[in-house]
Amino acid sequence: MRAYLARRLAAMVPIVILVGTIVFLLIHLTPGDPAVIMLGPDAPDEAVTRLRQELGLDAPLLTQWFRWFQKVLVGDLGTSIFFGLPVTTTIRQHLLPTVLLSALAISISVGIGVPAGIISAVRRGSLMDQGVTLVAFLGVSVPEFWLALNLVLFFSVHLGLLPVAGYVSPTEGLWTSLRYMALPAFTMGFVQSALIARMTRAAMLDVVAQDYMRTARAKGLSSQRVTLRHAFPNALIAVVTVVGIIFSVMMGGNVVAETIFTIPGVGQLLITSVLRRDYPVIQGIVLLIAAAYVVINLLVDVVYAAVDPRIRY
C-alpha cells in the first residue's frame, strides 16, 4: 500500500509539469496585456513599458517560462500582478471558501442522492421511483444560476431568512458562516445530487438482480438489512467514483454559485484573473486544480480498498 501511494504521488510530478507548461503557453499566447489592465486603459505607453519590464513580461517566452518554473520547484508561485501579493497568499485566501462550500455541497448531494437512489432502486417502477427520476431529471436540467436566483428570491428577499450573498469565515462564527453558505451549498448540492441518485440507482439495480441477494432474502433477513448490509456496500464503488469526480470538479471552484452568492472562492478568482490577465495567479490555480484532481483520485482509490476487501494494492 505504501509503495503504491508513493508511486502514485510520484506520478503527480510529470502531470503537474505538463499541465503547468500547457497553461503557461496558452495564457501567454492569448492577446491582452496585464500592464495595460493594471494601469488603466489611458495609461501612457511609457508607463506600460516600464511596468512590463518590472514584471519581466518583456523577456522571451522561454525565459519567462524558465524563471517561473524555477520558482515553482521551490514552492514559490510568484506574485499576483493585479494584487501585488504572493500568489500562494492570494490562493490561500480563496481556497478555504471553496473547500468549505464543496464539502457542504457534497454532504448535501450525498445526503439527498444516495437515499433517493437506493429507494428508487428497491422500489423500482413504483410511484416513488418515478418521482425520484423526475426530480433527478429536473436537477440535471435546471440551470444552476436559475435555481440560485430563485432560492435567493424566495428565502432571502421574500422570507428574509437567509442573507442574499457573501461569505463569513467559520472562524468568525460557525453559525453565521453556515447561514451564508446554506443557499450556495444547497444549489450546488441539489444539482449534483441528481447525478448521484441516478448512479446509485443504476448500481443498486445491478446488485439487486444478483443471486446472493435472493439467497439473503431466502435466509429470512429483513428487507432493510438485505438492502443496507448486502446490496449497498457492493454498489458503493460506483457511488464513491462519482462523488470523487464531483468533488474534484468542485475544487476547481464553482463560478456560477461563487459569482451569484459572492463567495470569494477559487472559481471566481480564476475567472477574474483570466479577465485581468493575471498570469501568475492563473498558473497557480491551474496547478492547484491539477494537483487536487490527482490527490482526490488517489483518495478515491484508497477508499475503494476500504469499501471492497477484494481490492488490494
Binding site: T30, P31, G32, D33, V36, I37, M38, L39, G40, P41, D42, A43, P44, D45, E46, A47, R50, E54, F82, F83, G84, L85, T90, Q93, H94, L149, V152, L153, S156, V157, G160, P163, V164, A165, G166, Y167, T259, I260, F261, T262, P264, Q268, L269, T272, L275, R276, R277
Partner: protein
C-alpha cells in the same frame, strides 16, 4: 383669559413650527453604524497614485486627499491647500498649505510630505507624464507651509491636474512616498493619508474596510461638491466586492448592503417603484465612443470618417443601448453639459443621418466595399450595443462591416496595433478633472487611434500653456469644431450611471465619483 390665549397661540405656533420644520428639514445627521457599499469588482490597488482605475479612486480617496478638488459646479477649490498664486508669467506656482492637518498616525503634514508626494505622482500620473512632467524644473518646500512648483514653460492645466479625482494627487507621508518610488504600495500600514477615514483591512476578492479617523482635520464651512467640510458620520465604511448585479440589487433590498453602484439601467423601471430602495441617477457619467485608426488603412482618409458619421442616427443608437430616456442624453458636445467646458460650437455634423451624403463621400474616397473591422467587447453594454446598432446603419449606407466581438483585455491590446482594426469601441468616463487637454481619450496623439493634425496639435499646444480661462474656453471650442470636421472618432451621446441605496441612508450625492463622507445612516 388673555394669558390663556397667549399660551394657546404659543402652543399652536410651536406645533405649526414643528410640523413645518418636519416637512422642510431633513433629519439631523447621526453618527455611528457601518456603511456597507457593494462595488462591482476589486480595485487593482489602494495606492491612489498607481492607477487610473475608477474603483481605486472611489475607495482610496476616503483616505488620501488632494491639494485641490472640485466644488458642486465642477470648479476648482482648495482642499489641503489654502490657496495658490501664479507668478513668473505662469511658470511659478506658489501653493500655501493648511496648517495643522494630521495624518492618520497623528503626524502633522509638512511641505516636505507634499513635495515627496507630488514628485512621486508626476512620474506616475497619466495626466502628468505627457503634459508637464518634463516641464517641471523643481518642486520645493519653502518655510513651514508653502510649496513652490517651478516650470520651464507656463502651464494652464497644472492646478486642474492636481485636482482631478482619477489617479488623485493625494498627499502621502514623505518617508512612504520616497521609499516607494514609482512602485505600487501594497502594505496597508503604509497607506496613511489625511482623509476622514483610514484603512483597517483589505481582503482581496472580498472586502476593504475603513474606519473613522477621529483626529481628522476638517475644513471649516459647509460641504461643497467633492470638498468643503467633510464629516465621517459612519464608524466604519465597508466596500464589499459583489460582481453580480442582481445580487447587488437583492442585497440592498434586504438591507444587507446600504448602497450599490453600477446597476443596469434596465432595472430602473422596477426599482423606482420599490419602497425598499432609493434610486440615484449619477449624472454626468460617460460617453460611448468609436475611435478610428488614423495611422493605417481605410480611415486615414478623412472622407471615410465623415461618411461614417453621416450614416449614423445617434438617437436610435443611444435609445437602443440605454433604453430608459432618463438614463441617457443625445448630445454632441465633447464636454458634458454639467461642466464649465460645455459648448454647442461645431456640432453641425453630429446626429444628421444623411445617407446620400454618406454614399457621396464613400464614392469620393474610392471605397469599394473593403471590410471595416470594428473591434468591440460584449463585456460592457456601452461598447457592444452601439457597435451593433451603428453597424446596421452603416451597412445601409454601403459600408461592409466586420464586427469583431472580443474580450475587453484583447480589445485593449489589439487597439495598440494599427494593422489589426479600422475602428474600436471605448468610452470616456466623466471626471471633474476634465480639463480637455489632459484627456487622451479625445485628443491624445499617442493614444490608440492616433489623432495628429497640424491644426489640432497647435490648438492643444496653446490650450496647455494658456492660463486665462476665457481664452482657454474659446480655444477648446475651436478644438471641438475641428473634432466634428475631422472626425478622429465619434461620440454617440451621454449616458448616466444608476446606483441604489437603502431609504435610511442620508446625505448621498448624485455625483459621478462616489464618496461616503457626509453620509449617515438614519435609524
Amino acid at each position: 383669559m388673555r394669558g390663556m390665549r397667549v399660551v394657546l397661540a404659543l402652543t399652536l405656533a410651536g406645533l405649526l413650527g414643528t410640523v413645518a420644520s418636519g416637512w422642510a428639514q431633513p433629519p439631523a445627521p447621526q453618527r455611528g453604524g457601518t456603511l456597507t457599499v457593494a462595488i462591482s469588482a476589486d480595485p487593482p490597488a489602494l495606492d491612489i497614485h498607481s492607477t487610473t482605475a475608477y474603483l481605486t479612486e472611489i475607495v482610496a480617496w476616503h483616505v488620501f486627499e488632494p491639494l485641490f478638488t472640485y466644488d458642486k459646479n465642477f470648479r476648482i477649490i482648495p482642499m489641503l491647500a489654502e490657496g495658490y498664486k501664479v507668478g513668473d508669467g505662469g511658470k511659478e506656482y506658489t501653493i500655501t498649505l493648511r496648517s495643522n492637518v494630521r495624518f492618520h498616525n497623528g503626524r502633522v503634514m509638512t511641505p516636505r510630505d507634499v513635495v515627496a508626494s507630488l514628485q512621486r505622482w508626476v512620474k506616475m500620473a497619466v495626466v502628468a507624464v505627457p503634459f508637464f512632467r518634463d516641464d517641471i524644473e523643481a518642486i520645493e518646500a519653502r518655510g513651514a507651509s508653502t510649496v513652490v512648483i517651478r516650470l520651464k514653460q507656463p502651464s494652464g492645466i497644472l492646478i486642474a491636474a492636481l485636482a482631478q479625482p482619477i489617479q488623485l494627487a493625494g498627499i502621502y507621508q514623505q518617508a512612504v512616498a520616497d521609499a516607494a518610488g514609482t512602485k505600487r504600495i501594497t502594505e496597508l500600514s503604509e497607506l496613511i493619508g489625511t482623509g476622514p477615514f483610514k484603512f483597517t483591512r483589505w481582503v482581496p476578492g472580498q472586502a476593504i474596510e475603513l474606519e473613522r479617523f477621529d483626529g481628522y482635520s476638517a475644513r471649516a464651512g459647509s460641504p461643497d461638491g467633492y470638498g468643503g467640510q467633510k464629516v465621517a458620520y459612519a464608524d466604519k465604511l465597508r466596500f464589499v466586492i459583489v460582481p453580480d448585479v442582481q445580487t447587488r440589487i437583492n442585497g440592498v433590498m434586504t438591507g444587507q448592503y446600504d448602497y450599490a453602484e453600477s446597476i443596469t439601467p434596465d432595472a430602473y423601471g422596477d426599482l423606482r417603484n420599490n419602497p425598499k430602495v432609493r434610486t440615484l441617477i449619477l449624472k454626468p457619467y460617460g460617453q460611448p465612443m468609436a475611435v478610428f485608426n488614423k495611422r493605417r488603412g481605410l480611415f486615414t482618409d478623412r472622407r471615410m470618417r465623415q461618411a461614417f458619421l453621416a450614416a449614423l442616427d445617434m438617437s436610435k443608437i443611444m435609445a437602443g443601448t440605454f433604453g430608459n430616456p432618463l438614463m441617457f442624453r443625445v448630445d454632441g458636445s465633447l464636454m458634458f453639459k454639467e461642466s464649465p467646458w460645455y459648448s454647442r460650437e461645431g456640432l453641425g455634423p453630429y446626429n444628421r443621418r444623411d445617407l446620400a451624403t454618406a454614399r457621396r463621400l464613400l464614392a469620393e474616397a474610392g471605397y469599394r466595399g473593403q471590410p471595416v473591422r470594428w473591434i468591440t467587447s460584449a463585456a460592457f453594454d456601452w461598447a457592444y450595443k452601439p457597435a451593433l446598432i451603428a453597424s446596421q446603419q452603416l451597412e445601409e449606407a454601403g459600408f461592409n462591416m466586420d464586427l469583431q466581438v472580443l474580450d475587453w483585455a484583447t480589445v485593449l491590446s489589439r487597439r495598440a496595433n494599427p494593422d489589426l482594426y479600422e475602428v474600436f469601441s471605448t468610452s470616456f468616463i466623466f471626471s471633474p478633472g476634465v480639463d480637455p487637454p489632459i484627456q487622451p481619450v479625445i485628443i491624445g496623439p499617442t493614444w490608440p487611434g492616433w489623432w495628429t493634425t497640424e491644426e489640432k496639435d497647435r490648438l492643444i499646444g496653446r490650450l496647455i500653456r494658456e492660463p486665462d480661462p476665457a481664452a482657454r474656453k474659446r480655444l477648446w471650442e475651436d478644438v471641438q469644431r475641428l473634432y466634428w470636421e475631422d472626425v478622429p472618432g465619434i461620440k454617440f451621446g451621454d449616458f448616466f450611471n444608476l446606483a441604489i441605496a437603502r431609504p435610511g441612508v442620508q446625505g448621498l450625492a448624485t455625483r459621478p465619483d462616489l464618496f461616503f463622507w457626509n453620509v449617515w445612516i438614519a435609524p
